[in-house]
């Protein structure tokens, strides 16, 4: 299990490769959250609460490991300024059968969105900034898991 906060670009290929290669792995699932661009957005800045973030992400990964038959879990979240198209978060998992790793990744993302203390600030091309507000759909998605 790997939980990491980074200020540098996430090496997606490297992380996916590290989930391969065990005899008992039948599938690998991953989610990569990226900065969605539009005509006015320059970048996102991700702030976090370091002590609590690592603790919460580790807890979420541990719960996912108990809930689903997965072999391994990787959560890497970037902080600081992130440009359009770059990865904000990588969540990957591997398991003997595909349902478990796919569900584990979805579960982790739904919990991460509401329980891991990160905050996004949008920076626009005109220099203005705005903190993003939490969306009800993110709360609903977490509640889906009971």
């Amino acid at each position: 299990m790997l939980v990491k906060i980074t200020t540098t670009e996430i090496d997606i290929n490297n992380e996916l490769k590290s989930l391969q290669g065990n005899l008992n792995i039948g599938g690998i699932a991953s989610f990569i959250g990226t900065v969605r661009g539009d005509n006015s957005l320059h970048s996102l800045t991700l702030e976090h609460y370091p002590n609590m973030t690592e603790k919460k992400l580790t807890k979420i990964a541990q719960i996912a490991k108990q809930k689903f038959s997965v072999n391994d879990i990787i959560i890497i979240h970037r902080v600081g300024e992130i440009l359009i198209g770059d990865a904000i978060v990588f969540v990957g998992s591997n398991s003997p059968h595909r349902d478990d790793c796919q569900n584990a990744v979805a579960f982790i993302m739904d919990y991460l969105k509401t329980d891991a203390p990160f905050w996004k600030m949008e920076k626009y091309n005109n220099g203005e900034t705005k903190w993003i507000e939490q969306k009800q759909i993110d709360i609903d998605k977490k509640n889906y898991w009971g």
Binding site: Y49, H77, I88, F118, K120
Partner: protein, 81 residues
């Protein structure tokens, strides 16, 4: 007690943390104290419904007590991922 502020709360208060050598019967009481420390604090804590609190890195309720030695963090609802 260390009191940490994140995201727009930190911007509006103008600093990332405060230190206090005092116990409070509840987070609500701590907020009332902070609101008396200046207009910027009063503005930030005007609507408690849009603020979340953690005590020693665990989500907490506004009714929970806080004491010297605790790390209390105030922040808006989470928007990571």
């Amino acid at each position: 007690m260390n009191i940490l502020y994140f995201a727009w709360l930190k911007n509006k208060i103008g600093k990332p943390f405060d230190e206090l050598n005092q116990d409070f019967d509840s987070v609500n009481d701590l907020i009332d104290y902070l609101k008396s420390q200046g207009e910027n604090y009063a503005q930030v804590f005007q609507d408690k419904n849009i603020i979340r609190v953690a005590i020693n890195c665990e989500f907490a309720q506004m009714s929970e007590p806080v004491k010297v030695g605790d790390e209390v963090a105030f922040f808006p609802p989470i928007t990571g991922g």
